[in-house]
Amino acid sequence: MATVQPTPTSFWNDTGKTGITSWIFSTDHKRIGLLYFYSTFGFFLVGVLLGLLLRIELMAPGRTIMGPATYNATFTVHGVVMIFLFIIPGMPGAFGNLVMPIQIGARDVAFPRLNLFSWWLYAIGAVIVLTSLFTGGGPPDTGWTFYVPFSARTGTNVSLAVLGVFVIGFSSILTGINFVTTIHRLRAEGMTWGRLPLFVWSIYATAWVQVLATPILGITLVLIMAERILGAGLFDPGRGGDPVMYQHLFWIYSHPAVYIMILPAMGVISDVIPVFARKPIFGYKMIAFSSLAIAAAGSLVWGHHMYTSGMSDTAILVFSFLTFVVAIPSAIKVFNWVSTLYKGSISLEAPMLFALSFILLFSIGGLTGLILGAAATDIHVHDTHFVVGHFHYVMFGGAGFAFFSAMHYWLPKFYGRKYAEKPAVIAWAFMFTGFNILYFSMMVLGLKGMPRRYYDYLPEFAPLNLVSTIGSWILAVGLIIMLVNLFRGLFWGEPVGSNPWGGATLEWSIPTPPPTENFDQEPVVTHGPYDFTKAGVP
C-alpha cells in the first residue's frame, strides 16, 4: 500500500500554468488550503509585530514609544487581526482544506467553487479591514470586542472595520457548510464514522459551530452599523437601548468562536501524538465525542464574559455552572493524550515537541480558566492581565502551538521537502521558554490587580511588565528561527517520501506532494486511523 509509485503529476504543476491566476482562481482544495495558509499566516506575522510593539510600550511606565491613542489602536488591530484574520480562518481554512479531504479519501471538498469563493470573501474582508486602518478617522480603537456605547461614539473607523469582519464571517459560514457536507457525503468506502481521523472529527465539530454561531456575529455587526450610521439607539440607554444586550449578542458568537479556534488544534494534537508514540490514540470514542460535547456545551457559556456587567445573579449562576461543565470534556482529552504515551515508542521530533508543549500550555490555560469560571474569583481577575495571560495560553500556547505542530507535521507532505530538524528544536525551545516568561508574568500582574488594555500603569507593576517584555523578545527569536528554517526547508530542503513520520491516516498513503485528485482510484479503508500494525507502517 505504501509503496512509492512513479510520481504522478503533483498539484503544484498539474495545470501546466504557473503564476498567480493559477492559484487565486484554483478550485483545488490543496491550492486553496495553501492560499489560506499564506494569507492567514501573513496576518499572524502582522499580529505578532503589533504584539511586540505593545510589549515594548509596556516595558516601562509612561510613554515609551507611542501615545495612548496609538496604543489603543494597536491593541485593537492586534486583536482583530489575530482573531478574525488569523486564528478563526487559519486552522480550518489552511489545514482543514489541505488535509481533511485526503484524510477521508475524497478527491476534493463537496463544493470546490464555493470553497474558492470563501477564500475570496476572506481576502475581500481582509482588504476592507486593512483599508479601515488608513482611511477615515484612523484605525479603530475599541478593542476587538467593539463594546457599545464606546464603539458607537468613537470617531475612529469602526464602521469599515466591522464591515470587513462581517464579510469574513460569511467566508467562515460557507467553509463550515462545505466541510459538514464533505464529511457527510464524500467519505471513501470503509471510512466509517468510527474510522475518521480525530482531526476530521474536530473539523466536523468546528464546522457546525461556524455554521450555527457566525450568523449571530453578522447580525451583531449590522446592529453596530445601524447604531453608528442610523443612530438606531438599540444599545443606547438614552433611547431605550441596552448596552449589556450588545455584550450578550457579541459573546453568543465570540465565545463559540473560541472553540472554532481551539477544536481543530485539539484535532491536530490527537493526530500527531499517536504517530510519534507509534500507538493508537487512547480512548478514540471519548475524544471524538468530547469534541462534539465541547462544541455543543461551549455554545451555552457566553455569559461567563459578563459576570461584572450587571446581568442578573441567576444568569451568573447558570453560566458559571455550564462553564464548569465545558471543562470536563477538555480534561478528558488531556488525560487521553497523556495516556497514549504509555508504553509507546516516543520520538521527540518537532511536531511532537509542539504537541507535547500544547498539552502543558493548554492545561495551564484551561486550569486558569477555572479561576475565571468560578463567580467569586472571576470578579477579581476579570478585565485584568490575568485574562490576557489566560487567553494567550489557550489561544497561542494552545491553538498557536498546534498550528506550528501542524506546519511541521503536514507541510512537508505538500511541499515535498522537509526543514532541518535541529533548528526546529532550537526554535521550539526558544518559543516555549519565551512564551512562558511572556504570559505567566501577565497572569501574576492580573492577580496583583493590573487591568488590561492599559497604556500606562502604576510603578508597582513595572518589574513584571519588564520581564514579560523580555519574554516576548525570546519568543520572537524562536519564531524567526522557525520561519527561516521552514522557509529554507520547504523550498530547498531534503525531499521526503510519501510517509516520513509513519502515519496510518490516508494522506500518508498517497504520493508526496499529492497529485491533483489525491487518489488514482477511490481508496477502500480497512482499518482505523491509528492502527499502525494493520496499516503496515514500520
Partner: protein, 400 residues
C-alpha cells in the same frame, strides 16, 4: 454595624482562589510529571518498539470523567458561595454614589458632599451605587477583590469594607478610550472619627449641592440662559408674571413663593413656561429646602465666586490635564497660561498665545484649537455656565 462579625469581601474570595489554585496545581503537576516520565521511559532510543497497543480502558476513562466532574462541581459551588458574599450588602452600609465619566471618578456622600477620592471609615461597610455619564466603565478595587461595571442607564452596585486605614487603588477596569489607564484614584480609609470629621467639613454651598443632586439645574440655569424653567440668575426679588388657576397676576419672588414653587410647583407657573415640574413634597427635607432658599436668596447663583480648582476636579478636567507639568491625555495646565503654543488649524500649525480668550474657547469648543501632538478627544461641557468657565480660566491661570 459590628465589624468583628463581618466577613469582608477579601475574606470571602481569597479561600476560593486558594482552593482552585491548589487543586489546579496538583492536576498540572500530575499531568506534567506523568508526561515527562512517559517521555523519558518510552523514548524511542530506549523503547524502539511500542510494548502495548492498548487503545482504551473503560474503567480508567470512567474514573477521569467522574473525578474531574466532582472537582469542578465543588469549584462551582464554592465559587458561587463566595460570589454571594459580594452581592449581599451588609445592613447599615454607607451609601456612596460613584459617578464615572471619561476619564475621572467622582463620589457623592449621603450628605451631598462630593470628592475625587473615595473616603471611607475603617470597619464601616460601604455600598457604592454606580452611575456612568457616558460609556461603560469598571469600578475595580483590587485590594478588596471587588469589581463591577458602571453601565450607562443601569443601576449597578457593589460593596466593600476596609479593615485597616490606608490608601487603596481604584482602577477603571472596562476599556473606555484614550484616558482609560489614567482613570485611577484611591480609596482613602480613615479611622471612624477622622472620617466623620472629614464628612462634616463643609465646603461650597450645601444649597447648590442640593440643586445639583436633585437635578434642578437641568431645567433652571444659573447663568441667565433660558431653560425648561425660569433661570435662577437674579431670581430673588424679581418681579414675575405668574399664571394662577388660569389667571395672570404679578408677584415678587420671595421665600414664600420659592417654597411654594418647590412643594406645589404648578400652582403659580411663570408666564411662558409649561407646568411640568414635579413636586418635591417628601423628597426634600425642611432643612434642605432652607438651604436651597438660602442659596437662592444670597444670589449665589449670580454672584458667588466659583471655585475653579474644585470645578476642574468635579468635571474631570484633571483626569487628562495634569497640574504637575506632565502631559497626560491632554496638555498639562501647569504654566500653560501666557505661553506661546502651536495649535492646529486646518491641519496647519499656527503659533498662538494661550490667553484667557484661548482658554475660554478651548473649554467651550474643544478640539477646534487643538494643541499640536494631542488627539481631538475632549468632550464638550455644555453644562458649564459662563461663570463656571470664567472660574476655570482663573484657576488655570494660577497653575504655575
Amino acid at each position: 454595624m459590628d465589624a468583628t462579625h463581618l466577613i469582608t469581601t477579601t475574606e470571602a474570595i481569597d479561600p476560593v482562589f486558594m482552593f482552585i489554585f491548589g487543586a489546579s496545581l496538583v492536576l498540572l503537576l500530575g499531568i506534567a510529571a506523568t508526561m515527562v516520565v512517559f517521555v523519558i521511559r518510552y523514548r524511542r532510543s530506549r523503547s524502539p518498539e511500542p510494548t502495548s497497543q492498548v487503545s482504551g480502558n473503560l474503567w480508567l476513562e470512567v474514573v477521569w470523567i467522574v473525578l474531574p466532574t466532582l472537582l469542578v462541581l465543588a469549584m462551582f459551588f464554592y465559587g458561587w458561595s463566595g460570589y454571594l458574599a459580594l452581592r449581599n450588602v451588609p445592613k447599615g452600609a454607607m451609601e456612596v454614589t460613584v459617578t464615572a465619566r471619561m476619564w475621572s471618578w467622582s463620589f457623592t456622600y449621603p450628605n451631598g458632599k462630593t470628592s475625587n477620592k473615595l473616603y471611607v471609615a475603617v470597619n464601616k461597610p460601604v455600598k457604592v451605587e454606580l452611575v456612568s455619564r457616558d460609556v461603560i466603565h469598571g469600578f475595580y478595587l483590587p485590594a478588596f477583590r471587588v469589581k463591577r461595571d458602571v453601565v450607562p442607564g443601569m443601576k449597578n452596585h457593589a460593596w466593600f469594607v476596609a479593615t485597616k486605614p490606608g490608601s487603596y487603588d481604584l482602577f477603571c477596569s472596562q476599556y473606555c478610550g484614550t484616558g482609560h489607564s489614567a482613570m485611577i484614584t484611591t480609596v482613602e480609609a480613615l479611622p471612624e472619627a477622622e472620617f466623620a470629621a472629614w464628612l462634616a467639613q463643609k465646603e461650597g454651598n450645601p444649597g447648590r449641592g442640593l440643586l445639583e443632586k436633585h437635578g434642578c439645574l437641568g431645567c433652571h440655569t444659573l447663568d441667565g440662559k433660558p431653560g425648561v424653567g425660569p433661570t435662577f440668575k437674579g431670581l430673588w426679588g424679581r418681579s414675575e408674571t405668574v399664571v394662577t388657576n388660569g389667571r395672570e397676576r404679578h408677584i415678587t419672588v420671595d421665600e414664600a413663593y420659592v417654597r411654594r414653587s418647590i412643594l406645589e410647583p404648578n400652582a403659580d407657573v411663570v408666564k411662558g413656561f409649561q407646568p411640568v415640574m414635579p413636586s418635591f413634597i417628601g423628597v426634600l427635607k425642611e432643612e434642605e429646602i432652607k438651604a436651597i432658599i438660602g442659596y437662592l436668596r444670597t444670589g449665589g447663583a449670580a454672584s458667588a465666586k466659583r471655585d475653579g480648582r474644585k470645578l476642574a476636579q468635579e468635571k474631570g478636567c484633571l483626569g487628562c490635564h495634569s497640574l504637575d507639568g506632565s502631559h497626560g491625555v491632554g496638555p498639562t495646565f501647569k504654566g500653560l497660561f501666557g505661553t506661546t503654543i502651536t495649535v492646529l488649524r486646518a491641519n496647519k500649525g499656527v503659533a498662538v498665545t494661550a490667553d484667557e480668550g484661548y482658554l475660554r474657547e478651548c473649554i467651550r469648543q474643544p478640539n477646534t484649537q487643538l494643541l499640536e501632538g494631542f488627539q481631538p478627544i475632549m468632550p464638550t461641557f455644555t453644562e458649564l455656565s459662563d461663570d463656571d468657565v470664567a472660574a476655570l480660566v482663573e484657576f488655570i491661570k494660577e497653575v504655575k
